[in-house]
Amino acid sequence: MAIKQYDVIIVGSGHSGGMAANILTGKGISCLMLNAGPQVDLDQDRTLKAAHELPYRGFDEPGRLPHVFQADEFNANQWVDEKEVPYTHPPDAVYNWVRVRLLGGRSLFWARQSFRLSDYEFKAADIDGSGENWPISLEDLAPFYSRVEEIFRVTGRKEGWPQFPDGNFIELNAPEDSASIKQVTAAATKRGIQVSKWRTALGKDGLASSINLLLPDALATGKLDIVQNAVVREVTVDKNTGLASGVHFVDRHSKREMHVEAKVVVLAAGCLESTRLLLNSKLANSSGVMGHYLVDQMYGVNVVASVPEARDHKATSGLMGGSAFMPRFRNLSKDKKSNFIKGYCLHIDSGGTPSPNYFPLYGEELQEKVDSYTGSCLSAGIFGERVARYENHVRINKDVVDAWGIPVLHIEARDSDNEANMRKDAANTAEELFHECGWEIIAKTDEVNPPGYSIHEVGTCRMGNDPKKSVLNKWCQSHDVKNLFVVDGASFVTAGWQNPTMTILALSMRASEHLVEEMSAGNLA
């Protein structure tokens, strides 16, 4: 059989890889997509079960996925096995690296919160003096956001607020707010906190993944081949030109070593896997910043209040239910200073049932308490922006390899005082809002999950105009190797408080169209 020639190799099949394949094949460019795991069959690979039908009665298999707090016995098989693909971190700096290698990657399972970054993020250095600005602004990315929002069918309410840019939304069809949400909205508004609603990708048939929104069209062009179970170990280089020549991969099952060539290599394996691949390839790091500025968002803070009138089965839909979403409201004005920089969003949900852990009770007494409070609760949590700092980084740990002998990542990420001050502010603010409403606070903590938990890790190959301070240019293209692109979250300069998916998709779309132009102009050879 003759070896097929491809224009572009795409490593990874999630949102960013799917978008690259969609754009490139749509322009007639032949692509080979390599994915480290298998394809899922939603009919065959899932089945309805009760907890008691599982070997561990719904508890995790002890020790199987110690870092994936999202894992339980029902979904354990969807995550990357930590023994198969381990990573290391200092004992005092737990990092939760949550990965999916199934075809479609994490796009199969994301929560579909769909926000744009604003110039408070793109131009953060101008605002708070921290770090670097992105080499692009919202204006540069806005047209791509609009196209992505159309594909993903994002629903939301337009507000006209600069910190919460509007988009190409399907009008939100939300029911009237319950009385409890109206009350907390009024309390927030009184304090100058703006209140909106979630913005969510509706997708299609309950799924907003690359496998249903991006890859089918790419395959239909006849220009895309997808290989599953292809674990890429290295990007190879033409010694004469210094350009990327292809990739070396290993078959996941047989461990057969393979090599494939192409004119361009696009990495879309997820921020840390793309960076791991480049570090193992010893490529594209003349700046020395590759692996650095790892950042994600703080998920956590838990403040819970109970509405007395809603207890004892009186939580009607008119009183309880619904949500309030308060996009970043701190540090929007230079004359209003907090004891931290950047900001967080506060999200409040009404109508919940309290955790039994909130009450120091047991037996019938506990059950009566929980029954009484059922449906009467509102809970507040945050998505908070962590600061991108040089010392939060990944590097290769040569002493540990994965199941295919590929050296793993060592991840070091710690929070600073800025994060501590931010989460305290968030917990206190939520408590004050609930107090003002006259509700009973039954739980309050400013604790947050460890770095990585949000599954929004970004950075480590950040973009910039200066090749000495950045790995990629503003087109997600390597400064050092012009036919190498990284289109996942690795290019981010700051994380923002927003779910990064819309931004990753928009950046991948923009980078892919630039790639086509450059390839057509003969600039990538």
């Binding site: 719904g58 354990a76 309950g206 956590g300």
Partner: protein
């Protein structure tokens, strides 16, 4: 120690948590193909292969008991008494003993990490030691009031599941309470009771379980 307590409400995790799995819906089942005439040359049975056969089976707990082997008899007796006190049967809900929760926890902790095993062993030994000190008998022999006097000071509110009490005995009590509740509400007995009353029960319902999609390599 990482445990999933399915009893806990949505309030434990922000409702829009990133991990909130969007539930991809299974594709609609295709309509059965129209009846077609049999092929002209039906291959012999041995070349066609057997038809799919699915026989009814039952769970092992239906007719067998867990062999407990991890805890000492003194520790297991304390765990059993604790189960009866912390998670008793309430109305039509089975209690921890009905759900054989202590036996299940003996199994679960036997395959857990060493720090988790130590937490349990020290905690159960601690209960027995306190009972002997104050009442001159083991924890299993305490009456309700006596047991309450030991348990109640060890219960502390926890606004965050992963916030662990610093006091080792309070930590143990938080963990065993969580585990007993989960082992009870995730039991076949709990599901059967829910089905009998027709009420939606915490976790007696069914969820999508992801099968092992591919063999684990080198794990």
């Amino acid at each position: 120690m990482k445990r999933r307590n399915f009893v806990q409400s949505l309030l434990v995790i922000p409702a829009a948590s990133v991990a909130a799995e969007q539930a991809p819906q299974p594709a609609p089942q295709p309509a059965p193909p129209p009846a077609t005439p049999p092929p002209a040359h039906t291959p012999p049975l041995e070349r066609r292969g057997p038809k799919a056969i699915k026989l009814a089976t039952v769970e092992p707990d239906a007719g067998a008991e867990t062999v407990t082997a991890f805890f000492t008899p003194a520790q297991f007796s304390a765990l059993t008494r604790l189960a009866a006190v912390l998670v008793p049967p309430i109305k039509t809900n089975p209690g921890a003993l009905d759900a054989h929760a202590p036996e299940f926890i003996d199994f679960l902790i036997s395959c857990s990490a060493a720090p988790d095993q130590k937490l349990y062993r020290d905690g159960l030994d601690g209960l027995n030691a306190t009972a002997k000190k104050h009442f001159h008998k083991i924890f299993a022999d305490l009456d309700t009031k006596e047991a309450d006097s030991i348990i109640r000071p060890l219960l502390v509110p926890r606004p965050w599941d992963r916030e662990v009490p610093k006091d080792p005995m309070q930590h143990f009590m938080a963990q065993v309470h969580d585990d007993l509740r989960t082992a009870t509400t995730n039991s076949a007995e709990w599901a059967a009771a829910g089905a009998l009353t027709g009420r939606a029960r915490f976790n007696g319902g069914r969820r999508f379980y992801w099968k092992p999609i591919d063999p684990r390599v080198g794990a």
